[in-house]
């Protein structure tokens, strides 16, 4: 390892101080340094969204963000979505109830992207199928054909609690 730089972040509510290579990607920092392996890597080109997590409340694809860019940030990963008592987030519940996953590899990123989508959703009416489909365009799934993912996100929204943890 070459030159290192200090990094201070809060991940899922827990503060971390690390010395890291400047080129270390956020996703590798989360996975390899903090051992938060729920965030997956699917493509390296920010197409698939498997690595989606939240940085300061916004969904980012962590395979194309340098960890150092997040200095001082609040980060949420899939591991931070359940309640402290292990209660599932409405999106986790929705994906389970609606069979919104098969191999599960895209699921953490899909849930994080959906949480961001629902948090940004404006208007009083329920989120439409089309809004969910367009809103999740940046996340690829090879297993489900998206049908049940859309239902899962709508179910979570309908539960009225589909907000970022």
């Amino acid at each position: 390892m070459g030159r290192t730089v200090p990094l201070q972040v809060t991940v899922n509510g827990e503060p971390h101080r690390s010395e890291i290579e400047p080129r270390l990607l956020l996703v590798h920092y989360l996975r390899d340094e903090l051992r938060l392996t729920g965030t997956n890597i699917g493509c390296d080109t920010s197409n698939c969204g498997a690595c989606t997590c939240h940085v300061d409340g916004e969904a980012v694809k962590s395979c194309t963000v340098l960890a150092v860019q997040c200095d001082g940030a609040e980060i949420t990963t899939i591991e931070g979505m359940s309640g402290p008592d292990g209660a599932l987030h409405p999106l986790q519940e929705g994906f389970w109830a609606e069979h919104g996953l098969q191999c599960g590899y895209c699921t953490p990123g899909m849930i994080m992207a959906a949480a961001d989508l629902l948090a940004r959703h404006e208007g009083d009416g329920p989120i439409t199928e089309e809004e969910v489909r367009k809103g999740l365009e940046g996340n690829l799934c090879r297993c489900t054909g998206y049908h049940n993912i859309v239902k899962a996100v709508q179910a979570a929204a309908e539960a009225g609690r589909g907000v970022t943890a």
Partner: protein, 821 residues
Amino acid sequence: MTTIEQAPANWVGQSLRRKEDPRLITGSATYVDDLTLPGMLWMAIVRSPEAHARIVSIDGSAALERPGIKAVYTGEDMRDLLAPLPMAWAPPGVEQKTPERWPLARGKVCHVGDAVAMVVGDNRYGVVDAAGDVRVEYEPLPVVVDVEEALKDTTVIHESLGTNRAHDWSMGGGDIEQALADSDVVVERRIVNHRTAGAAMETRGVIAEFRGGELTVWSSTQVPHLVRLFYAVQMGISEDKVRVIAPEVGGGFGSKLQVCAEETLCAWASKKLGRPVKWIETRSENMAASHHGRDQVDYVRMGAKSDGTITAFHAKIIQDLGGYCGLLTPMIPELGAFVMTGCYRIPAVKTDITGVYTNKYFTDAIRGAGRPEMTHMLEVTIDQLASELGMDPLELRRKNFIKPEEFPYETPYGITYDSGNYEAAFDRALEIVDLDGFRAEQASLREQGVLRGIGFSTYTEICGLAPSRAVGPSGFGLGIGLYESALVRVHPTGSVTVFTGTSPHGQGHETGFAQIVGDRLGVDPQVVEIIHGDTATGPMGLGTYGSRSLSIGGVACAHAAEKIAEKCRQIVAHNLEADAADIEIHDGRFSLRGDPEKGMTLAEVAGCAYIDATKMPEGMELGLEQSLIYDPTNFVFPFGTHVCVVDVDPETGKVSVLRWVAVDDCGPAINPMLIDGQVHGGVTHGIGQALYEQVVYDDRGQLVTGTFLDYALPTAAEVPSFETDRTETKSPSNSLGVKGIGEAGTIAATPAVVNAVIDALRHEGISYIDMPLTPLRVWQALEEARGRGGGPRGSEQGVELPPQGEGSAGSGPTIPEGGAA
């Protein structure tokens, strides 16, 4: 074997939530890349930028100078391997020329991405840096990319074979030429079924640890037992010293039905260096060096009488093998050939297949494996035949369907379709779509300039792989039988562990198999744990592919559980002083028929079998455990009808899928929710091939689609919600009556899309467009049809569009010189 007389079917048939999901939705599942071992090293692979070249020299010295780099190895360093990577098909009576494929190239490279060296070091990023410092000098050779060009042998890729032509395989039934000559109409067409990628969201990955004479490997694979078997062959380690684990696997779609070079490399390096070695494939490596699918040029001829009776179907298939053969490469079109009659009574059929080497990555099984290609040929040709006969394509199908009373039906190929009721699924689909309403809407939209079309596809497929005698070394020529194992173990407290030799990667076996076993032992599936993907824990198994898991592996679990249930009944009968024949499972207990108050739970029976031996019948073995191998007597043949509705933008050529109706028949449903999920994903995979996805090499063999930036997978915005329904026709091939569903959607989908687009455009004079139906291709076809010429033939991603499939009734044969014999 005695079976439970009263099948309670409490759990089977229910859409139970998946047992797999809690770990997956919380991020606590363990995929290969989530594992780290003490002292673990990383591997990176140096891959060829040349499509065809001699390796002059490889210099790893600069790489070795980098900090943390432990070794650079080349193919020459690995001369101690006992065997090249396997190709497992040796068809009796057919000469198949197969080049040796070593984990690292020896002397020359045959495609971009061919592995020439590995770098091992202690840092994930460091090995990639060092791989860039390995200097490889290549002497470029002429490159052949086009499969029909390769057949001319102007450039021969493997000198030792003397030709690019790997094999010729012909099979059929009836006199095809006579039947075609006697037909009133013959439709001919050249069809390109283009190269695609499996594109599982998790790429491949391996960790190997050689320690104390034993090898443990974690691999993202669909076939852990086959990988173990091959390690024994290639590295000379006896199987009992090898353990292969498929942990959580993030999708496969056939792309992980392979014995991979990287598995060998990690194991070999670990043995050499005495440390665990890990390799995680990047997506660009996955696009270049995980096997591709499809890639055939097909010449089809279909003959019919003027009343619409189909008389003959002939397919000449030129298969692009790529630079080498993988595990099953040359047999993929053959798998499709077995169902070339589809749902129809066609008295004369023939398939002539020629496998050809080109300077591309090798092709192999990807979801459907040969059957999507054959179904595509059949179903687009039937629509064209209907057009030339002036018949409704639906009536043409109906007229030629094999009737329900004709099953079991022996095709001219000598294959016996187990069961079917094609009209029932067809009628149900028609009922859902309201065709009359659609046609009225289509006509009125056309007046407004909107091009809307509807496409149908009726399919049957062969799966449930497979009866071992039929497919094994003395049969079809696979290197092993395709039976499946189950070990059911009831614990002393009455919970159950089931070990299956299948190796799921998203399909939901942990839930579905638990439902099957739960019913048979009178317990909640929540206390039935399904263990898979670990060669050390269960008996030999063959893995998950070919829609085989339920109809082979699930049936094995059922049989093993039934044997335990029979033992339970005897134990209960002994304790109740009753006859075992009078013991039935009722409300979660083994109880006395007619007096359900008297009975025992599985936990109580287990207490007899494990804890208080005095409660066991005299002479009966203690314990409740059963292991068995199930080998089916026939394949299974799921079927169905899929309907696609599209809009084609007349200005841009963009195709939008508006509606999808799928009526599938895979026999009795174990878990309907899981079936629907398989159909949704399968159809989307097919829509991807039909409209968006294509692996493109340029004429120098450079891979143009090396990332997801260039290889377009469908997103949520490109597909509709699906309307799924089922009919239920039991298979007589197994005791559950089940068939398979994993590949059905993909097999059905591509012709439904193409037929829908052609339905929207046929009035413009367009009768066929090769996939993928990109806006450019569709727009160009429209421009040409409208007499505007379409300008010079366009290009996609810098590669000129291939010639469009031509040919129709009376246009004469379109078989190339020197083509398939």
